[in-house]
């Protein structure tokens, strides 16, 4: 999971970064509205945007407006210090998916992040089923036929992306973008290694990660039982 945080207070940003990273997400941080807009333009591989409204250089709502104006369906969670009804209504009308007033608790933040990324994946509950594979978003774990599977953070991230796009092709570059923050170097070869390891752990029964030569990978859809 890749998350972009747009927050100008460094202490708060640090807290958010550490929290989200500890749940395995790849998190990037910008401190101004202008930078947020640029980052969102550069890539659409983010799963979630956490947007503080009181950003310098470009107001948060303006960033949101531009994002939605480009037709992006990226889930957006708004953080703000003002807690008025007008602001809430305005934020939601401009296209935010959820809203949190500062100060907030860690647990609530994590739950809302989960809910929003779930929605992005098209799932309705905290767990995603893929045949015998059950992926628990909250607990950050996967199980097959009820038995827990030990996966590293990278492997979990990879599985999440493939599950999100189950049945669709995901290129190696996309995988890199999804798994890595700015400044991290993950080579395409490394991706192959991770896929190899993941396959060894989860390819059981109908679960299969197909290789599309020269293009990428795809988690095959489980055919519905006749």
């Amino acid at each position: 999971m890749r998350i972009l945080i747009a927050e100008d207070d460094h202490v708060l940003a640090d807290g958010l970064l550490r929290t989200l990273r500890s749940s395995g997400a790849a998190v990037d941080h910008v401190a101004s509205g202008a930078e947020a807009d640029a980052a969102l333009l550069a890539t659409d591989e983010f799963d979630l945007l956490i947007l503080d409204l009181g950003l310098p250089r470009l107001h948060g709502l303006e960033v949101l407006k531009r994002l939605r104006g480009r037709g992006s369906a990226l889930p957006v969670l708004i953080l703000t210090a003002a807690d008025s009804v007008e602001e809430r209504v305005q934020g939601l009308d401009f296209g935010a998916d959820d809203y949190m007033a500062k100060p907030f608790s860690l647990q609530e933040l994590e739950a809302r992040v989960r809910a929003l990324t779930r929605r992005g994946m098209g799932a309705t509950s905290s767990t995603i089923k893929h045949g015998p594979l059950v992926y628990d978003q909250a607990g950050r774990g996967a199980s097959i036929d009820g038995r827990m599977v030990e996966l590293s953070a990278r492997e979990l991230g990879l599985l999440e992306v493939l599950l999100q796009r189950a049945g669709r092709l995901v290129s190696k570059d996309q995988l890199v973008e999804r798994l890595c923050e700015w400044g991290e170097e993950v080579s395409l070869n490394a991706i192959e290694v991770y896929i190899h390891r993941l396959r060894k752990k989860i390819e059981k029964g109908p679960i299969r990660i197909a290789t599309v030569r020269g293009l990428g990978y795809c988690l095959e859809k489980i055919p519905s039982s006749p």
Binding site: D8, D9, H10, V11, L12, D14, G15, L16, R18, T19, S22, A31, S32, D52, G54, P56, R57, L79, A81, A82, A101, K102, P103, F104, S105, L106, Q107, L109
Partner: protein, 520 residues
């Protein structure tokens, strides 16, 4: 006269009093005038009758003299000559030399200057303790059979009135007929005195009849005045009602068009005051909202870091990191609160500013000295370059505490926003330039940081506006505070690039003080 005034100045009372005093005076005057006129009126007919009577008497006396018999008017005549049955009359006849001829001896002697013959002189006098009215007539002794007078009597009233000389009605005769020895001479002076009791009663009746209604008028006038005034002032209580009925937070202007003309300027001034009050309250509300807003973010950071630290999985390293961040957020929040207080203090002191001569060079050097540790923490080169304390023109009339605050905020901004690296060290310089002849003092803080874009040079003075730089720990209130304090010292602020054309251009903030009133 302060009949109607109460302890506090009352318009009602004042108007009533200033109307009442003259009114009372007028009434008193009218009483006096009425009484005089009444007396005058009453006197006139009586005096005329008396004049006629004395003429009749005089004619008799002359005739008696001419017939050379003693003068003794019949009692019936006397009764006729008396004014009324309430009064008494006495007569006296003397000759030119003053020798008694007939009548009462005790009458006061005739007036010596009542000399015009044929003119009746009427005066007041005393006879036997009673007040009497005395008519005196000088009558020349003419030929027998010749009437002594022609036409109606001419009356002259009072004593001391110099009678006007008249052409004599009878030319003096060169010789007189023979007569008794004591009547020799060419003229007689006849006096007739009567009491005026009847007249006094009459005068009294007139006076009462005219004056009594006037006494009744006075309270009536006062009452009418009172009612008229009360009605006139009523619109004021309408305005009062309208104001009282307002909700406590209603500061909208009072409708000027429906109040009386005289009160409209007062209401207009009140509306101006209400407007200013509303502005002030709105500014405060906005400010409080902004402040609460600004504190929520550091608080969110604190809470988040605390939650993180309390996580079970947190190791020592993570704990340390969290605590460090908690420290930073607390400091930031404290700083924001302090700046808010400083701004409030700066704004609040605008009324009564204790102004003293302040040596700006000395103040600046002190503040720079205090800021050096902070600058060194960030590897910044902070220095002072300017006038020495005590030189001419460095004194500004103002509040030392606030001026110190101003300098400190300027330095803090420079320190917070100027990056410093070994390759490009950050340099901050404070200048104090005094021009005693032009009566100007410049305080400048210059840095080689990223500068402030022209588009933002107005915005940076807005509370909580923060130009993005590096890790800026500012509260966003520094420049607003500087502007507030500068304004109170009647100084102006300008922002510009320190080194235009260079990259980075750096910032120079100049505060310009007017030192023309100083005696430095």
């Amino acid at each position: 006269m302060k009949l109607f005034q109460r302890a506090q100045n009352s318009l009602f009372g004042e108007i009533l009093d200033s109307l009442l005093a003259p009114a009372l005076l007028i009434v008193l005057l009218s009483i006096g005038v009425t009484w005089l006129v009444a007396r005058g009126i009453a006197n006139a007919p009586y005096d005329r009758a008396l004049a006629h009577s004395v003429r009749v008497l005089a004619q008799e006396a002359v005739t008696a003299q001419q017939q050379e018999r003693a003068f003794a008017p019949a009692p019936a005549l006397m009764a006729l000559l008396r004014g009324s049955e309430h009064d008494q009359a006495w007569y006296q006849v003397v000759d030119e030399a003053g020798r008694h001829v007939a009548g009462h001896a005790d009458l006061p002697p005739p007036l010596s200057d009542a000399a015009a013959p044929g003119t009746v002189y009427i005066t007041d006098g005393l006879l036997g303790g009673q007040e009497v009215r005395i008519a005196q007539l000088r009558v020349p002794l003419g030929r027998p059979g010749q009437p002594a007078f022609n036409g109606p009597p001419r009356i002259v009233l009072g004593e001391g009135n110099a009678p006007e000389p008249l052409p004599a009605t009878e030319p003096p005769r060169p010789d007189d007929g023979a007569g008794p020895a004591a009547g020799k001479g060419r003229a007689l002076v006849v006096q007739l005195a009567e009491t005026r009791r009847r007249q006094a009663v009459h005068a009294g009746e007139i006076t009462t009849g005219v004056l009594l209604p006037q006494f009744a008028l006075l309270p009536l006038a006062v009452m009418l005045l009172w009612i008229a005034l009360a009605r006139g002032i009523k619109p004021l209580s309408v305005v009062e009602e309208r104001i009282r009925e307002r909700r406590p937070d209603d500061l909208s202007p009072i409708d000027e068009t429906t109040v009386p003309l005289e009160v409209a300027p007062l209401v207009s001034a009140l509306n101006v005051l209400l407007g200013k009050l509303a502005d002030s309250i709105n500014t405060q509300k906005r400010f409080l909202a902004d402040a609460a807003h600004q504190l929520k973010t550091p608080l969110a950071g604190l809470r988040m870091q605390a939650d993180l630290a309390l996580r079970e999985a947190a190791d020592a390293q993570a704990l340390k990191q969290s605590l460090k961040q908690i420290g930073r957020s607390s400091i930031r929040a404290t700083h924001t609160v302090n700046q808010l207080l400083a701004l409030a203090r700066a704004e609040g002191g605008s009324g009564a500013l204790a102004r003293q001569p302040c040596d700006m060079a000395r103040l600046t050097m002190e503040v720079v000295r205090e800021a050096v540790p902070r600058a060194m923490d960030r590897a910044l080169d902070l220095g002072y370059d300017g006038a020495e304390p005590g030189t001419r023109g460095v004194e500004v009339l103002g509040n030392a505490t606030l001026l110190r605050e101003l300098i400190r905020n300027l330095l803090d901004n420079a320190i917070n926003y100027t990056p410093s690296s070994p390759g490009r060290p950050g340099v901050i310089t404070a200048h104090v330039l005094a021009d005693p002849f032009g009566h100007v003092l410049l305080l400048q803080v210059e840095d080689n940081g990223p500068g402030i874009a022209e588009a933002e040079r107005e915005l940076v003075f807005e509370p909580f506006y923060r130009v993005l730089g590096n890790e800026a720990d500012g509260s966003g209130l520094g420049l607003p505070i500087v502007r507030e304090i500068a304004g109170q010292h009647r100084a102006t602020i300008t922002l510009e690039d320190a080194h235009p054309g260079m990259q980075p251009p750096g910032t120079r903030v100049t505060v310009r003080f007017d030192t023309s009133q100083e005696t430095a």
